[in-house]
Symmetry: none
Subunit: 102 residues, 4 copies
DNA sequence: GAATGGTCCCATAGGC
DNA sequence: GCCTATGGGACCATTC
């Protein structure tokens, strides 16, 4: 995405910048906000790309004759395992904290 | 669904231990399936990590006094904008291809 | 909640009913819709009541010196257990279906 | 947090087996905790069941050609209305109490 | 008021 | 091609 596209909805500030004058409107705060927005948008693009990748891998597996639905079930189950383990540890920590073992 | 697929979650390692021979059960197919599962799980972990990052950035922005809900709105609008722009460009290319402008 | 309250947003039909004439506007369809809405609202009231009950039990437990946070953790963990078991069974069924054991 | 609370998830049954004596560890307190947990879990099951029921009713309505999304909107509006009415009644009662009208 | 967990709603994707 | 099912996101309530 181009910088221009990013500016499309906050264009007032940009226009001023284009005219070679420091931002009197919005100013530093606007700069900071824009920086946050762009960081987030960048991360979301990466996230979407990963989602694409995942879909592709499923497609590949399917092309090799594997059943996607079952694969999803297996993955979900493995995730439950991991979550359970994590939850157990969290509970243990809570207990230890409760009896003063920091 | 293949027999190998069905065996995927009862690990090859175990079977090997039982029979003392590498990959008699499931074999190459099981290996392939596992590879797919692991690739997917890896990608999903990365995706989750990015989701975490995004949350953190929002948190940071909030700490600087920005309203997260409004930020989300802005991002949504900008995304629509970007999608629209992309759509238009795609259409333009279609037209240009149609009239032989490569 | 009174019947009048339930009718507050679909009052047109009701008004006609009040005037001793069968519903020409909306008619049977409106009746059916209202019946659905009322069933749902009834169920949601019951659900809210249960949420209240749960809060009360936590309160009671707290009054007996139990730590609510830890209790929640334990409950969550037990739920994960249950989910995992259920998921395992679902996976097994998928497998059996896959090999034609209906 | 009490010691009994900490023992709640490692069941009394096991301890009993180990020591051959009923309820020496955890004891009455553990019993009480377990009772609380079970009451809560029972209530949560009922709550989930109701959520299921609600989904089913929506499904039924959909099968009759109603638009679920719109139905949700209507229900939300009617709820707001009900809340408002209740609020007003509460205020009225407060006033009446204030002027001694029991 | 900050953070966390829970619930609800929507949008997308896969199956029939 | 609909339609159900599932995952993700937003919102809200509650706790510390």
């Amino acid at each position: 995405m181009t910088e221009a596209a990013l500016n499309s909805y906050t264009s007032d500030d940009t226009k001023q910048a284009d005219e070679g004058k420091p931002q009197e409107v919005g100013g530093v705060t606007g700069q900071r906000l824009r920086a946050f927005l762009e960081r987030i948008e960048r991360l979301e693009e990466e996230k979407s790309a990963l989602a694409e990748d995942i879909k592709e891998v499923f497609g590949e597996a399917k092309a090799h004759g594997f059943d996607v639905k079952t694969m999803r079930k297996v993955i979900r189950l493995r995730k439950l395992d991991a979550d359970k383990r994590q939850e157990e540890e969290a509970l243990l920590e809570t207990y230890m904290a409760a009896i003063g073992m920091v």
